[in-house]
Symmetry: C2
Subunit: 457 residues, 2 copies
């Protein structure tokens, strides 16, 4: 499965920068480098120590392409586990391409997306969930997504999975030992202990499964539905929250028909704001479809931001609106009542909604938007610093399979099913744990994971 | 003039990449790094050898920000000449910003554009024209502009300037020695030799000045004016040469009024194509203004591409058009006759224009466009590989000042002017040579040069 070719790619972001890095990894790295690099001190890269840096020129025949620094990494002490070099060149795209071409012409192969990390996985430098953490780390754009990704890359999740796997392996080996003794009815594995163990592991798996809701929100944004009657300023609020002119704003009630969504980072948290069609009784078919969509969006949101025009809405109407929304949302969802256009109301007396969170703003005049942002951050359910959070659909699916298998094993233990049937279920859960770590993997799984990497990593 | 602060900046291109590089330079580089970096082997960066690489974590208090590689460079053997480190981190923009913030919070200052190179200049690592070569190298986008820039960065131009300066210094010191002897009428400097020397140096300066036309064309593109009668397909040709839909194409003669320009690289040469208003007799005022502009563009072009509709134009008209254009262009300009729409002409007999370069194409059907591109590349006046080419307006101005001063000195020698007057002119030319190398510089000159650098270089 491990290719022997030496791979090359530009590893820094696309475009002109001050400097750029081109990576070379594989058994021919030093030999290729010797052909195209002239050290200022006449040294050959192949004769240099690991983890050292050398100044010189990349040459193509007689032509000098650039003055560069070469970093030398030796197997197995490198990212990929192979002999590697990194070329730090001037950041012109033209030069980057020239150097890459020279490497290819001297025997390197253009790296596939994620091929460096894939080689690191094959060479035992990291397990599969750590490799996935690398991709998530590169894509991380907020404090929260960064925390999940770096924990995963550093092996937090891998350790948990490996710990559970070892416990289940010990368990299954005891059961299988009994089977070896066949008819003798020995019981190496204390059934009460086994019950407890499966129950505990199942519990841990369920906590991990539950963490996905949080992890997914972090990765894709905590969903916040902005709802309210037509023309209360929902699109204006969305635009100011996004610092953008995404939603078309007009004075005509019912302007927004599609749910408009976009992400923005507030106090280190990635929020996904969803502007919705205003809720009202209407005979307009298209608008009614929009309102139906709004209710769908409310169901999927973690935070519901009910916007009310403070300058026109009466207390009774407010309370009736709040009650009608309250009936639609679950205990897991947070409702924030937001009174808009408070700049138009002189001597504003807040309507008494003491048991609910409320904020007074003017979206148009940018009043108290900072306060609203603070309230949003506070209403986001942060998990304990030390909890492991999964944010990867592949892991979720494997964990659900593990959970089903453990459920069957647990029920089997309860109803004194034959040990071989229980052992089969435990083996299945061990299999899926191995899929997460990559102890068990197929070309298809690997292909799906690494195709989503950027080139050069 | 040299600040003592330690500077930090992201040096790779903006955006998410596999990896990114953050640079730190100044006397506190190692001390700052020790505060935020935990080596995997428990080593302090400040105790490491120059040109070595170390794996570990960037931390902010208890929080792990990223796993990184640190490269150690020690004064004076670094790019800036100062103690420096480079942090190679995961290429998430979020992580890049986090690390930069941590560096700033621990005492580093955000680097100004070009500040690393400016420090390299102040610390005698390169002269001013080499520093300018660095910026040009990063901006280089073609074989030709790359060649000029890397030659300049590596000191080709600096050596030439320094050589001329030394010769003039020797010359002026001989003259000034004579002045010391006052009335004694000794002549240390052989006047014939002096004449020859000033003549030769002036000649070299003039060659450099002339090279600017070429250097500038390389940097900003070789100007090619596409001209012809209305509706012969000039805009269609421009679009196909640029692989773009820049010019509005219509069947209505006179659609293009403004001269539309854009650059593209063909066979390693940067060409600037200029689409022009069609030339014809018209009473339309705006169109006439356009035609006037066309003639201005012809005057400034290096290559004039006269487009003729082969399907409608008669031989007599063709010859008359060619003659009328020939009168407008100089010997330095190249004329390429391009017959368009040859796909519409069955059994095409080429009009006899034997002394001129001609190509038959169809812009619309993409016929022979490759041949046209080859002809364009051939018609571009390449300079000898080993010639020094200047492409910098600041150098041009200094060289023109040097030339004037040398002209006065030369004439002074011819007409036996007093030695002190001649010495003054030579001193002036030496001053301007020093401005190119940066031996003489002002804050204003330096400010103008480095403000155009990217941050991180």
């Amino acid at each position: 499965m491990i290719e022997n070719s030496t791979i090359a790619a530009i590893s820094t972001a696309q475009g002109n920068g001050a400097i750029a890095i081109i990576r070379l990894s594989g058994s021919e790295s030093f030999a290729i480098c010797d052909k195209i690099f002239k050290s200022k001190l006449g040294k050959k890269i192949s004769e240099q120590k690991a983890n050292t840096i050398h100044f010189g020129e990349i040459v193509n025949g007689n032509k000098i392409i650039d003055e560069v620094l070469i970093s030398v990494f030796k197997s197995p002490q490198s990212y990929t586990g192979e002999d590697s070099i990194e070329i730090s060149c001037h950041g012109s795209e033209f030069i980057q391409q020239q150097i890459l071409n020279i490497l290819i012409n001297n025997g390197a192969k253009l790296a596939n997306p994620g091929e460096y990390t894939q080689r690191a996985f094959f060479n035992g430098k990291m397990d599969l969930s750590q490799a996935e953490g690398v991709a998530d780390l590169i894509a991380s754009n907020s404090v929260a997504s960064h925390k999940i990704a770096i924990n995963q890359m550093r092996g937090g999740f891998s350790n948990e999975i490996s710990d559970l796997r070892n416990k289940l392996l010990k368990f299954v080996s005891l059961i299988e030992l009994e089977l070896d003794f066949g008819e003798e009815e020995v019981e190496f594995a204390d059934r009460t202990e086994l019950n407890k163990l499966v129950f505990n592991i199942k519990n841990k798996i369920e906590i991990l499964i539950k963490s996905f809701e949080y992890g997914n929100a972090i990765k894709n944004g905590v969903p916040v539905a902005i709802i309210g009657e037509p023309n209360v300023g929902k699109s204006t609020l969305l635009n100011i929250l996004l610092n953008d002119d995404k939603a078309i704003v007009s004075d005509i009630a019912g302007t927004t028909r599609d749910a408009i969504e976009d992400n923005t980072i507030i106090n280190g948290i990635n929020f996904r704001f969803i502007d919705t069609a205003g809720i009202r009784e209407t005979t307009d078919t298209i608008e009614n479809l929009g309102i139906k969509k709004t209710f769908d969006k409310i169901a999927k949101a973690e935070i519901i931001l009910l916007l009310i025009d403070a300058s026109t809405t009466k207390e009774k109407e407010v309370l009736s609106q709040i009650n009608s929304i309250k009936q639609r949302i679950s205990d897991n969802q947070n409702l924030i009542i937001t009174f808009n256009q408070i700049d138009k109301v002189s001597d504003y007396n807040q309507i008494n909604i003491s048991d609910l969170t409320s904020v007074n703003i003017s979206a148009k005049e940018n009043i108290n938007i900072d306060i609203l942002k603070k309230v949003l951050s506070k209403n986001y359910k942060s998990l304990d610093e030390n909890n492991i959070v999964i944010s990867n659909v592949r892991h979720l699916q494997a964990l659900e399979n593990i959970n089903s298998a453990l459920e069957r094993a647990y029920n089997g233990l309860q109803s004194d099913l034959p040990s071989d049937l229980i052992a089969m279920d435990i083996r299945e859960s061990i299999h899926f744990l191995g899929e997460i770590s990559g102890d068990i993997s197929t070309d298809e799984i690997l292909g799906n994971i690494f195709k989503n990497f950027c080139i050069g990593k």
